[in-house]
């Protein structure tokens, strides 16, 4: 077991990291000792992933120290971290789709035979042994392309275990795993622990934290706020440390009159991605689509908007069926879609704020085939004011804005089309707390004006604070429909992990 006085294998001392205007990490102090399983908790955006990136050598802290065995160290790259015996399992699988499972596990460390040639037999045997140790029956020689998220996560874990790591960092490794897979992972974690490795474990499932962690570090808004043994704590204690503020104050949900259904999704299916998804969103209603990463929520949104083609089922807006796979038809019918990744899909980063905000309304600004410059400016100014956009000049490229203000431009771009149905995917990801509240207030106001809003969110407080109704997805199916009054974290998590039979209509 861990010894509180032992020299930490890996530690951060007052580390700071900022991305542009956002301080992702304000105060990172953390130590991982031999034989210790430490939990790192915090809401999304609290800075956990930044800590993981710093410890894994992906980014370098702006200030503070990184210590390996008590000695100050600098990781210039993930290779440096790996050479120091640190294995990291990232939240999103980072695999090579074209290569075999075995090669994904062994990349850069292939077993070698004569003349430094790769020993393919040993490569496949070692991978098969690792997978067996994890208790999964995956063919080591098949390509990774086409594996489910859970299987990809298993490959990630096998990759991390394939070299004798002294420190294992796991960023939500269990999010996509089923019960028995989690149990086997924990078995492996305990074996590593007995061998004196240190483990940092990030999870949103508090019962898992109590099951395998001896110590827990809680982060909030980029800073470590507590560091203590798990023994003696309750789940409520941890939640209080994580949230640290009043939920109602953060989510200014106003009551809106619920009208007729504007968006009806009927038995929508995309094979292998999501199956038989049906629901309605009414005027004035905010419906949250909750679930774990990889449950198929964003994919449903993409299919509704027509970016991806559905294999079965259909979508109706105000009772009229949308043609399959045609975003322009969806836009014409009054659907607006704010995608998850605003940098890649929501904005043209090199264009100005003005151009980005008006790009969806060009038809209305055009006379005789030419865009009216004045009309364009007036429109952009109007939206900038309505959304309280903080900017220097409307002609600046949108890339110069902070994350929150970028998101406002994306919203302006879609709201200027005067939509009836608004689909927002992770509307506040990577946005600081203050702007978050503004985005929430805006969504709430829009619902009040009679829009039907479908909000995909991985942040449970946001879901609970904003939604009139919560739909929960698990592995491509809707596994729960919970009205606002009955929604709580536990019920949502239970449905999101597939531990409920209460299927939605």
């Amino acid at each position: 077991m861990s010894d509180a006085d032992a020299t930490p294998l890996l530690a951060l001392d007052h580390a700071e990291k900022r991305y542009g205007a956002v301080r992702a990490l304000r105060e990172g102090t953390l130590a991982i000792r031999p034989g210790e399983v430490r939990a790192l908790l915090g809401e999304n955006g609290a800075g956990k992933s930044t800590v993981v990136k710093v410890l894994g050598g992906v980014t370098q802290p702006d200030a503070g120290r990184l210590l390996v065995d008590g000695e100050e160290a600098v990781f210039h790259s993930p290779t440096d971290a790996r050479d120091a015996g640190i294995a990291v399992i990232y939240q999103e699988p980072t695999l090579f789709p074209d290569l075999s499972v075995a090669e994904n596990i062994a990349m850069g460390r292939h077993p070698l035979g004569a003349l430094r040639r790769i020993d393919r037999k040993a490569l496949h045997r070692e991978a098969a042994e690792l997978l067996q140790r994890l208790g999964v029956r995956l063919d080591a020689e098949r390509p990774v392309r086409g594996l489910s998220i859970a299987d990809q996560q298993v490959v990630e874990i096998a990759k991390a275990l394939s070299f004798d790591a002294r420190v294992l960092i796991m960023d939500e490794p269990t999010a996509a795993l089923s019960g028995p897979e989690v149990a086997r992972l924990f078995g492996v974690v305990r074996t590593l622990q007995e061998r004196g490795a240190g483990i940092l474990f990030i999870s949103h499932r508090l019962e898992e934290v109590f099951a395998i962690c001896q110590t827990v570090t809680v982060m909030r808004d980029g800073a470590v706020v507590s560091d203590e043994p798990t023994a003696g704590l309750t789940e409520d204690d941890l939640v209080r440390r994580m949230v640290g503020r009043d939920l109602d104050a953060l989510f200014p949900k106003t009551v809106a009159e619920i009208g007729a259904p504007l968006l009806s999704v009927k038995r929508l299916t995309r094979e292998g991605v999501f199956t038989d998804v049906s629901f309605e969103v009414r005027a004035g209603e905010i419906v949250a689509l909750a679930g774990l990463v990889g449950a198929g929520r964003s994919e449903v949104a993409r299919a509704i908007f027509g970016v991806d083609k559905a294999d079965g089922g259909h979508v109706e807006v105000q009772g009229r069926q949308l043609p399959n796979g045609r975003p322009t038809a969806a836009m014409a019918a009054g659907v607006a879609f704010v995608p998850e990744d605003r940098r890649q899909q929501g904005l043209v980063m090199d264009l100005s704020i003005k151009r980005n905000a008006t790009i969806t309304s060009l038809a209305r600004l055009t006379r005789l085939g030419l865009i009216g410059g004045k009309a364009e400016r007036i429109m952009a100014e109007d939206w900038a004011q309505r959304l309280q956009l903080k900017f220097h000049s409307l002609n600046d490229s949108v890339g110069t804005l902070s994350g929150g203000n970028q998101q406002k431009v994306v919203l302006a771009k879609w709201l200027s089309t005067e939509p009836k149905v608004l689909i927002v995917d992770e509307p506040t990801r990577g946005i600081d707390v203050g702007t978050k509240a503004e985005v929430h207030r805006l969504l709430s106001d829009l619902a009040g004006q009679g829009l039907a809003i479908l909000m995909i969110s991985s942040e449970l407080p946001e879901v609970l604070g904003m939604a009139d109704r919560v739909l929960v997805m698990h592995e491509g199916r809707i596994t729960g429909e919970i009205p606002r009054g009955e929604a709580d974290e536990e019920r949502i998590m239970r449905a999101a992990t597939g531990r409920t039979q209460a299927a939605a209509a």
């Binding site: 993930p78 850069g108 063919d139």
Partner: protein, 352 residues
């Protein structure tokens, strides 16, 4: 829906079985990828031979092998670069420089040992490749732009250097020219050299860590970085190797044709990329083999020859190659989509 119908509810099929199934499926697809092009080659030869039986005599087969040899070597180099999700357009200009250097060296110093000439040619190519590699990896300029630039710049250097002169076969030693035109046991020497190069590069890509890392980089640059692959160094080395092979191609060009001027090899870059792509090397990196690329070079050469044999207008030859390229890419994409869908459904069935 269909994913559910195959298995009774609650019964999970043995996962290893579905894994093996998926593997069998991809095995077939990958075999099809290279089989398809071998089939196309066989069909082309068969049709031409039926229409014009003389096409199959020893001389014309020798010519097929000779024509394809230099392209196969260049395509091997191009494959190294394409696999990393980059491209090298400058190969033809590198070839010209190396060809002219080899020609002038041997004209001026006929006693110079031939292996030295080969080493110098490859060294010159490697130097050009390291310029490309440096600009791509450290300058962070897209390979398309960098190598388009060096394609023109190095061709310009070739014009300045040759200054209107040309190397002629009569000034070159016979022992050198024999490499380009002679045979060993009835097989053209040039074709044997190409075969050896392709096999070496093929083995490198298949059986060595750094070779596998090239695939990893092309498949997912971000994952490669996180896996500790030194992506910059690897991409740099791919460009150097491609450059060295273009240099080798240049020396062989001189040995084969004897006559070299500043325009040597003009337009080869697109033929080489076309050969690799037709041979199943994806332009997006991460997959394809040097063997496929080499067969692709053979196929393109054979098309040209058979169109000549069949007395088809030269203008149609270009159109035929273009069509083949588009068909190959469309076929590749179609296979890819089918494979994706099949793997997706198999995983879904297993989960369901």
């Amino acid at each position: 829906m269909s994913a559910q119908a195959d298995t009774a509810p609650g019964v999970t099929p043995a996962p290893s079985e579905s894994g093996a199934e998926a593997r069998r499926l991809t095995d077939i697809v990958f075999r099809v990828r290279e089989l398809g092009i071998v089939g196309a080659l066989a069909l082309l030869i068969a049709v031409t031979a039926i229409l014009e039986p003389r096409f199959l005599n020893a001389d014309s087969l020798r010519n097929l092998a000779l024509n394809a040899a230099i392209f196969a070597i260049l395509a091997a180099g191009q494959t190294l670069v394409l696999i990393t999700r980059n491209v090298d357009l400058s190969v033809s200009s590198v070839l010209a420089l190396s060809a002219f250097m080899a020609g002038t060296l041997l004209s001026d110093h006929p006693s110079l040992p031939i292996p030295i000439v080969f080493l110098l040619g490859m060294g010159l190519g490697a130097a050009a490749g390291s310029l490309n590699g440096f600009l791509v990896t450290y300058g962070r300029v897209p390979a398309l732009v960098v190598t388009l630039g060096t394609l023109y710049a190095l061709r310009g250097v070739a014009f300045l250097w040759t200054d209107g002169r040309q190397v002629n076969a009569e000034t070159l030693p016979d022992s050198f020219l024999n490499i380009g035109t002679g045979s060993i046991l009835g097989i053209p020497t040039l074709a044997l050299i190409a075969l050896v190069v392709v096999l070496i590069v093929g083995q490198y890509l298949r059986d060595f860590r750094s070779g596998r890392e090239l695939y990893a980089i092309g498949s997912s640059p971000e994952a490669a970085r996180l896996a500790g692959v030194r992506t910059g160094r690897r991409v740099f080395s791919a460009f150097v190797m491609a450059g060295a092979l273009a240099g080798l191609g240049g020396v062989l060009f001189t040995a084969r044709f004897g006559t070299v001027d500043a325009t040597a090899g003009s337009g080869y870059e697109f033929t080489v990329i076309a050969a690799a792509v037709v041979g199943g090397v994806t332009i997006n990196g991460g997959s394809g083999s040097v063997y496929g690329a080499a067969i692709g070079a053979l196929l393109l050469g054979t098309i040209t020859s058979s169109l000549i044999v069949l007395k088809v207008d030269a203008f149609w030859q270009q159109a035929a190659i273009g069509t083949l390229l588009i068909v190959a890419i469309a076929f590749d994409r179609w296979i890819g989509l089918r494979l994706d869908a099949a793997l997706r459904q198999r995983s879904a069935r297993r989960a369901g």
